[in-house]
């Protein structure tokens, strides 16, 4: 499989408007595979995206599309084995993190790049108080004393709008409600004032009403702190208000990348179209919901050609033979479809 074209794309790719190396965080042609007893699964097959200070990139995809694995690779928390990085770079301020020493990488975690996990209940250590887990960072990373660290931790809990922050400092994670727990998780990840925040499905485990509150909080904090944010989600509804750009992933590749407005108005990839059409809409009440037929490919045995071709309503013979590279279509957007131009130019 030779889809190196994608990496050549990155320089002139979407959003690449004249800032050659000033990028905050760049993922460049990243490749990851999982070696299991049953075979090798190619989980990430040349992913390229970037995020700059003050902007939010949403990475959209079904489970198994590789969006979380990409994030784990950036953070350096990929389980090895079974996961192995087989190619590409992850550059932070232009420096490839995959070639850094363990110590160098550790220093970036928390201070440079921080992460919020999907399920705060399992992501927080059950046997330590929430306060301890936040204050721990001030003590270990900033060398603060116990009292000062506690003060700062309570301040962080306040910033994420946890009522009675002082009183809750000594509570354990299981004593928090789901929404409060996710707020605590956010407080913890922001403690060291990171430049980039990766939020991996931050609202999936929550009630719908709480979801909106958490997303609002995240958006607010991102604006205030001018962070770069990578928002990983499978929910198109979540991203619309928050994201500046959206990258859609399928079978370990970026299949489309565009501004939020462009993407919603005129998707340039049949997969994105399918996703948008499968959102239930009030004005089409009563009609049958449209879905994408079939299942994502088995990553141990990805079909030749475009990985989406077996499910694609527009598939042509060429789709079964050649992998479409991620190419620029129109203004500041890219699509990995042989028929991207037609899709964009349709009326």
């Amino acid at each position: 499989m030779s889809d190196i074209l994608v990496s050549e794309q990155s320089a002139s790719g979407p959003g690449g408007s004249g800032r050659p190396s000033g990028r905050l965080l760049e993922v460049d042609d990243l490749r990851v595979e999982f070696r299991t007893r049953d075979g090798v699964a190619k989980v990430i097959n040349g992913v390229t995206y970037h995020v700059d200070a003050g902007e939010t990139l949403a990475v959209l995809g079904e489970s198994g599309s590789g969006k979380s694995v990409t994030a784990q690779t950036i953070m350096g928390i990929l389980d090895t084995p079974p996961g192995f990085v087989t190619g590409g770079q992850v550059r932070f301020h232009g420096k490839d993190m995959l070639r850094m020493s363990d110590e160098e990488r550790r220093r970036i975690r928390g201070e440079g790049i921080a992460m919020i996990f999907q399920d705060a209940l399992s992501a927080l250590n059950p046997v330590f108080t929430v306060g301890f887990q936040i204050a721990e960072q001030f003590r270990v990373r900033r060398g603060m004393g116990r009292a000062e660290a506690k003060k700062r931790a309570i301040d962080m809990l306040d910033q994420v709008k946890i009522p009675n922050a002082k009183g809750r400092f000594n509570n354990y994670p299981h004593q928090f409600s789901g929404g409060m727990r996710q707020r605590a998780m956010i407080a913890m990840s922001l403690a060291l004032d990171p430049e980039v925040l990766i939020a991996d499905e931050p609202t999936t485990a929550l009630d719908v009403t709480v979801q909106a509150q958490i997303m609002d909080l995240l958006a607010e904090l991102q604006r205030e702190r001018q962070m770069g944010m990578i928002l990983i989600t499978h929910d198109l509804g979540v991203v619309a208000d928050v994201a500046d750009r959206i990258a859609v992933m399928y079978a370990g590749r970026i299949v489309e990348e565009a501004d939020v407005y462009d993407l919603y108005a005129k998707p340039a990839h049949p997969y994105t179209m399918g996703l948008i059409e499968s959102i239930p809409r009030l004005d089409e009440k009563g009609q049958q919901l449209r879905t994408i037929k079939g299942l994502p490919p088995n990553l141990m045995n990805i079909p030749p050609g475009c990985p989406f071709n077996p499910r694609c309503p527009m598939a042509q013979p060429v789709c079964r033979e050649t992998i479409p590279p991620l190419l620029q279509v129109g203004n500041a957007r890219a699509s990995a479809c042989h028929f991207a131009e037609e899709l964009v130019n349709r009326v």
Partner: protein, 308 residues
């Protein structure tokens, strides 16, 4: 918490009575003539028989006997041996020795077992992992008397590294090998439980979080991973302390340690019924209380567990 404790204590009572009654019944009532073989080869002197019958109400049924005995016991009266020695004396002189041995065994379990478990749990399938797996298998499979006998023979007799038996002073250094023998199977269990626990928790989400926070590996493992993985290990150690003190018969016999196990064995063989029951009562009590303590410890270690 208080109510839970009370309920558990109340639950202990029938178990305590059941176990001690079982032993009482076995040593006093089952053999028919309670004095058969109790005074060596000869028949017991009439005076002694009369005294014991009076003291233990042997002319009444076993339930009356048992509860009279228990009543005396609760007042601190363990009774006397047939040579008129106070049984409480025997217990008081031998129990500290067993406790000392058990503490050494526990320390060895904690250091070796936990050390091996943590190292192999972090690095599975390496050389060390396989070595520990094989050696724990051996320790679990070998009966204690074989381990004790072999170590005593090799280290004590053949190579002369240790003295084959422990002196009456019970120096700590002398107790290392007997302590290892006593705890040999438990060392293996601790190592395996710790290994599994570490290996399971190592992939836990909160460990990932701790790494993502940029904590040094030392702290991720030493604080976040260990604290969670230790919960089953600590409870196992606690239960073991209760069990060790009852299981020291073989070890104490091999290394000639004047402990409770050796005393109870001697008492059983010489048909010293009063001594047997007295010691068993103490052992069972300690065992049950240790188990209760472990339950409480469990709640202290894992904040998610609250007893109501």
């Amino acid at each position: 918490m208080g109510r839970y404790l009370l309920r558990r204590l109340l639950q202990l009572v029938p178990v305590f009575i059941g176990t001690t009654f079982l032993i009482y019944w076995l040593v006093w009532a089952v053999p028919g003539d309670p004095f058969a073989g109790k005074c060596g080869e000869r028949r017991c002197p009439d005076q002694y028989i009369a005294f014991m019958t009076e003291k233990y109400h042997l002319d009444q049924n076993v339930f009356v006997q048992y509860f009279t005995y228990m009543k005396n016991l609760l007042q601190g009266d363990f009774g006397q041996t047939f040579s008129q020695r106070e049984i409480s004396d025997i217990i008081l002189t031998s129990y500290p020795n067993t406790l000392k041995l058990a503490v050494v065994a526990l320390a060895i379990e904690a250091v070796i077992g936990l050390g091996a478990g943590v190292l192999t749990g972090l690095r599975r399938n390496g050389f060390l992992d396989n070595l520990v797996l094989v050696s724990t298998l051996f320790l679990i499979a070998l009966p204690v008397f074989v381990v004790g006998f072999v170590l005593q023979w090799l280290l004590g007799v053949q190579w002369g590294i240790i003295k084959p038996t422990v002196s009456s002073e019970m120096r700590w250094s002398e107790l290392i090998v007997p302590g290892f023998v006593l705890g040999s199977a438990s060392v293996a269990y601790i190592a395996r439980v710790a290994r599994t626990s570490i290996a399971e928790n190592r992939r836990a989400d909160y460990v990932r979080t701790a790494i993502a926070k940029g904590l040094p590996m030392r702290r991720v493992v030493g604080v976040h991973l260990l604290r969670n993985s230790l919960i089953p290990v600590v409870t196992l150690l606690g239960t073991d302390l209760g069990a060790l003190m009852g299981g020291a018969i073989v070890t104490e016999g091999i290394f000639s340690i004047n402990g409770i196990g050796r005393q109870v064995f001697r008492a059983i063989i010489t048909k010293e019924s009063a001594t047997v029951v007295g010691i068993v009562v103490v052992l069972v009590l300690v065992y049950l209380l240790m188990n209760l303590l472990v339950d409480l410890l469990y709640a202290a270690l894992d904040p998610r567990i609250r007893y109501e």
